[in-house]
């Protein structure tokens, strides 16, 4: 709609903290000199699964219809789908990182149950999350989609190689902290990856970079604490939890 600004895109149900917080204000990259190395890493990460997707698709095309339905055809089809999914994850994460870096991404800030956000991620990743704890009466002021995306990325990274993941939320210093623990979090992973950083065959190579940007855009932070990822966001004062069904008691 012509003349529509970020504020107009906000649904009527959204509660804004202030006009300034309706668009992302994520800080730019730590060091512009690192940008070529970062983009080199992104290109490398995308080219690997892109290669597999193209090769497996071409191999399937070269097979006869009968062979395509056989064991080899099934294996190649599964590899192709897995690779395309990996490319999609990387491209979406990269583009969102770029939009957050550029600033001006419309945000829909609203009061969300901290535990509800975890449960939403849990529904999509029932296998990875072994336990989830948090007070249902605690709310956060955040963009629901971005917050869930950050938690989801942290869960995926913490759950690498089938490591059981625990997610807890608690109030600390007037903020709400989500602690995601599983595979040991490394302090160095908070910095943007650069060319030469080990590849991630699951397509989650940009998840930490994205979660850090989301945290900043929401007025919070992402740090490593006790071997886990600690994501903090502003607390929604006076939040009242709606009645809801739960995935975890």
């Amino acid at each position: 709609m012509e003349g529509m600004d970020a504020r107009d895109e906000k649904p009527q149900t959204a509660r804004s903290r202030s006009d300034e917080q309706l668009t992302s204000r994520s800080p730019s990259r730590e060091d512009p000199a690192m940008r070529p190395g970062y983009l080199g890493f992104v290109a490398h990460e995308i080219r690997n699964p892109l290669s597999t997707a193209l090769w497996t698709a071409e191999m399937l095309v070269r097979m006869t219809m009968a062979d395509r339905g056989g064991a080899r055809g099934e294996k190649l089809s599964a590899m192709c789908l897995r690779s395309v999914s990996r490319v999609r994850q990387l491209v979406e994460d990269h583009l969102l990182c770029e939009r957050l870096d550029t600033g001006g991404l419309p945000l829909c800030i609203e009061a969300i149950g901290a535990r509800d956000a975890v449960d939403a991620v849990l529904e999509r990743h029932p296998a990875e999350i072994a336990s989830a704890h948090g007070d249902r009466s605690v709310g956060v002021e955040a963009d629901r989609g971005l917050l869930e995306r950050a938690i989801e990325g942290l869960v995926a990274v913490a759950g690498a190689e089938r490591t059981p993941v625990s997610v807890t939320s608690h109030v600390a210093d007037g903020r709400v902290a989500f602690l995601v623990k599983g595979r040991t979090a490394e302090e160095g992973a908070l910095s943007d990856p650069v060319k030469g950083t080990p590849s991630d065959p699951t397509g989650r190579a940009l998840s930490i970079a994205l979660a850090r940007r989301i945290a900043a855009a929401l007025g919070g932070a992402l740090v490593v604490q006790g071997g886990g990822w600690l994501l903090t966001v502003p607390r929604a004062q006076g939040y009242t939890a709606p009645p809801s069904t739960t995935a975890f008691p």
Binding site: G40, A43, H44, R47, N48, P49, L50, S51, T52, L54, W55, T56, E58, M59, R72, K75, L76, M79, R82, S83, K195, G196, P198, S199, P201
Partner: protein, 128 residues
């Protein structure tokens, strides 16, 4: 006569699976390694006719592997084709590679490289 043996070295399991599938379908024997250290164990076990080598890998990268390979008299002359996603062909020269393929490369380009090199070194043709 033994079919030519191609050693594929890459840390990405899907890349390994895909390339090995392609070569196997063309009649080559294939062995695989996830990094340079594993690749050295493979070449010590059986001399390959050609090595397809990624450069950026954990444990031992492609450059370190190539240097270690050149120190082994029995396999120091095995030709290497660098397969890399870093888009820098000059790095292939650094390992003395006989060829360079930038991911994502065409299947036919891969097969042409491997066929050309195995022919040059006198290896039997695939499927024979």
């Amino acid at each position: 006569m033994n079919r030519p043996l191609v050693l594929v070295v890459d840390d990405d399991p899907d890349i390994l699976d895909a390339i090995c599938d392609i070569l196997d379908a063309e009649g080559y024997r294939v062995s695989r390694a996830r990094h340079g250290q594993e690749a050295l164990e493979q070449v010590d076990s059986e001399r390959p006719d050609v090595i397809l080598l990624d450069l950026m890998m954990p444990v031992m990268d492609g450059v370190a592997f190539s240097h270690a390979l050149r120190q082994r008299p029995a396999v120091s002359d095995v030709p290497i084709v660098v397969i890399s996603a870093d888009g820098n062909p000059q790095r292939a020269a650094a390992v003395g590679a006989a060829g360079y393929l930038a991911k994502p490369f065409d299947i036919d380009a891969l097969l042409a490289h491997v066929a050309g090199i195995t022919r040059d070194v006198g290896a039997p043709r695939p499927g024979t």
